[in-house]
């Protein structure tokens, strides 16, 4: 028996389906069988038609209102999964997806495999591919438990491509009572304003790390980025230090990026950073320590001081 049904959990972000959800749909519609979506958010005709264009034939829609909603989504999803018996439920490696995937795993008593970079369906077998040790080793894992198999996939593992011409059937799902577990309420939402090119789709990214020395020196990264029309990124070290917001974090627990050019400034190249950027086409690194691991993946490594190299680079670019 091959795979007959794949479900994709899709969270609504800024009034539209999260891009990871569309990547997963694109992947899933390439397999045999039906593809359905469990959609968590306010929902709109436009959002549903985007889901259809990416391959969803059915959309189960739950609007959490002011509830955090992860416990309710879990209860509703567990119920629907029990009725419709999908073989596979895919989630993205994002915060809300992880919450629901984790809860669902516990509720259904099924393992969840996280951090996947590929999912392969081979007849009955579902194989999940992971990168470990900073992307130097690939691990393939097969499910041994009964379906549904739960997988959390890293963003940017697959492209998102519309192409299906489906008008999905939208099935509203009533907000279930999740008891005490469902009592988390969102009182306020703070959204940072997005300015300039975004990490997700920029062709050029300039990232900074602790080697910049101080928060105010991140201006070097910003100046270079504005000169090159690039997006700005960061390591977790400087996000945790409060120099820049989390939205700029690249790496295992931040964003995965694959730009044409990635310039790492004062970044050591810890494996958790490398997994988020090592598939960039051209990597340039500036680091004063000639032994820094970032040089192991850099096409051009400059052993030097960011405070010398970047200002000279800016000056040379201005002279052009």
């Amino acid at each position: 028996m091959a795979i007959t049904t794949t479900w994709v959990f899709v969270e609504e972000v800024a009034a539209a389906p999260a891009s990871i959800g569309l990547e997963l749909l694109t992947k899933a519609r390439g397999w045999e069988g039906q593809v359905a979506v469990f959609y968590l958010g306010a929902g709109s005709d436009e959002a549903f038609s985007v889901l259809g264009a990416h391959g969803a034939t059915t959309v189960y829609h739950l609007d959490p209102g002011d509830n955090l909603g992860t416990a309710q989504a879990t209860a509703a999803l567990a119920d629907l999964v029990g009725q419709h018996r999908p073989d596979l439920v895919l989630f993205g490696l994002t915060y809300t997806d992880r919450d629901v995937a984790g809860r669902l795993s516990a509720r259904l008593g099924r393992p969840v495999l996280s951090n996947a970079v590929d999912v392969r369906v081979d007849g009955e077998a579902v194989l999940v591919v992971n990168e470990i040790f900073g992307g130097t080793q690939l691990v393939e894992t097969a499910f041994r438990a009964e379906p549904p198999h739960l997988v959390i996939v890293r963003p940017k593992s697959f492209p998102a491509e519309p192409g299906a011409t489906v008008t999905p059937e939208v099935v509203p799902v009533a907000l279930p009572d999740a008891g005490h577990a469902g009592q988390a309420v969102v009182a306020e939402r703070q959204v940072e304003e997005k300015v300039g090119p975004q990490l997700e789709d920029a062709a050029v990214i300039i990232s900074g790390g602790r080697g910049l020395g101080a928060a105010e020196n991140y201006a070097l990264v910003e100046d270079l980025a504005s000169r090159l029309g690039a997006a700005t990124g960061a390591t977790r070290a400087i996000v945790d230090a409060g120099w820049v917001p989390y939205a700029k974090q690249v790496g295992q627990t931040g964003k995965t990026v694959k730009p044409d050019v990635y310039i790492a400034c004062g970044i050591s190249g810890a494996m958790q950073h490398l997994v988020g950027m090592k598939d960039s086409k051209l990597i340039i690194a500036i680091n004063k320590d000639e032994e820094a691991p970032i040089f192991g993946v850099a096409d051009l490594g400059v052993v030097g001081d960011v405070h010398q190299v970047i200002p000279r680079l800016l000056e040379a670019l201005d002279g052009r």
Binding site: V13, L68, T70, A71, Y95, D99, V100, A101, G102, R103, L104, S105, A106, R110, P111, V112, L113, S114, F133, G135, T136, Q137, L138, V139, E140, T141, A142, R144, A145, H180, A181, A184, V185, V186, A187, R189, Q190, V191, E192, K194, L228, D240, A241, P245, A247, Q252, T253, V261, L282, I284, A298, D299, L300, G301, V302, V303, G304, L313, A316, L317
Partner: protein
């Protein structure tokens, strides 16, 4: 409030990690350290206990070994620790880990359970949510700020584009990011006291948890296609020109 902090002992990240050739389990030496991620949880727990005249209990699953990691967390100020150690737990997956931790936590009782957002060695990033579901409580996840109210916990929950202010009544599970608080360094007195603090060791049978066959199996481990290092130039005042040349070649300028 009674706070339980989940802490994990992990192989020292400073030395390269290896897999056992036959089982593909991570090689765990007898001497493991406290996962740096969990120092934030311990600090948060201590601050909540200070504010509410409460207690902090550590719960950990995995081989106890020399207990260096547990002692590190006790030295910060936690009152006692429970370690679940069992030969059947070798290579345990996230769900098994959560089942075991929830049994141990359930026995201790709690108002707040604190965990890290993801462990350094396993990084499934799902144990806190699995725990919350098994314990039947809300999961306040990815906290970058935590406030304790009267029978409630409010956090700033990190989101892709900012944060949400989320409140839930206790009992509750909270997962904290690095950056939520600044972990204290153990004092000399703390380190000496830690040696005398109670550490209880329990097994699956003690907790009444049945060992279950893993729901997945690693079928292959292979080297990833390697990205080879390119050229390295030492800056002597001219290296920026090499960058310009590379950018020209990539047609971005």
């Amino acid at each position: 409030m009674h706070v339980v902090v989940c802490v994990k002992q992990i192989p020292d990240p400073a030395s390269p990690y290896k897999l056992e050739p036959d089982t593909h389990f991570l090689v765990r030496p007898a001497e493991q350290v406290l996962d740096d991620t969990d120092r934030y949880g311990v600090e948060m727990g201590l601050q909540i206990a200070d504010q509410t005249e409460g207690t902090v209990t550590l719960v950990s699953m995995g081989p106890a070994g020399t207990m260096q990691g547990i002692r590190q967390a006790l030295a910060m100020g936690a009152g006692k620790a429970v370690i679940v150690e069992d030969a059947d737990l070798r290579g345990a997956d996230a769900l098994t880990t959560a089942r075991v931790l929830s049994a141990a936590i359930g026995r201790e009782g709690f108002d707040v359970v604190i965990a890290g957002t993801e462990s350094t060695d396993g990084y499934s990033g799902t144990v806190p949510q699995q725990l919350a579901e098994l314990l039947g409580v809300p999961a306040l996840t990815y906290a970058k700020h935590v406030e304790i109210g009267d029978g409630t916990v409010t956090i700033h929950r990190q989101t892709g584009g900012g944060y949400d202010v989320v409140t839930a009544p206790t009992p509750v599970v909270v997962s904290v990011t690095a950056g939520v608080v600044e972990p204290r360094y153990p004092t000399f007195k703390g380190i000496m006291d830690a040696k005398k603090k109670p550490v209880e060791s329990t097994s699956l049978a003690d907790l009444g948890v049945e060992s279950v066959a893993p729901g997945q199996e690693i079928v292959s481990v292979s080297p990833a296609p390697e990205r080879s290092a390119g050229e390295k130039v030492v800056d002597e005042g001219e290296a920026h020109l090499r960058i310009i040349a590379a950018l020209e070649q990539a047609k971005v300028i």
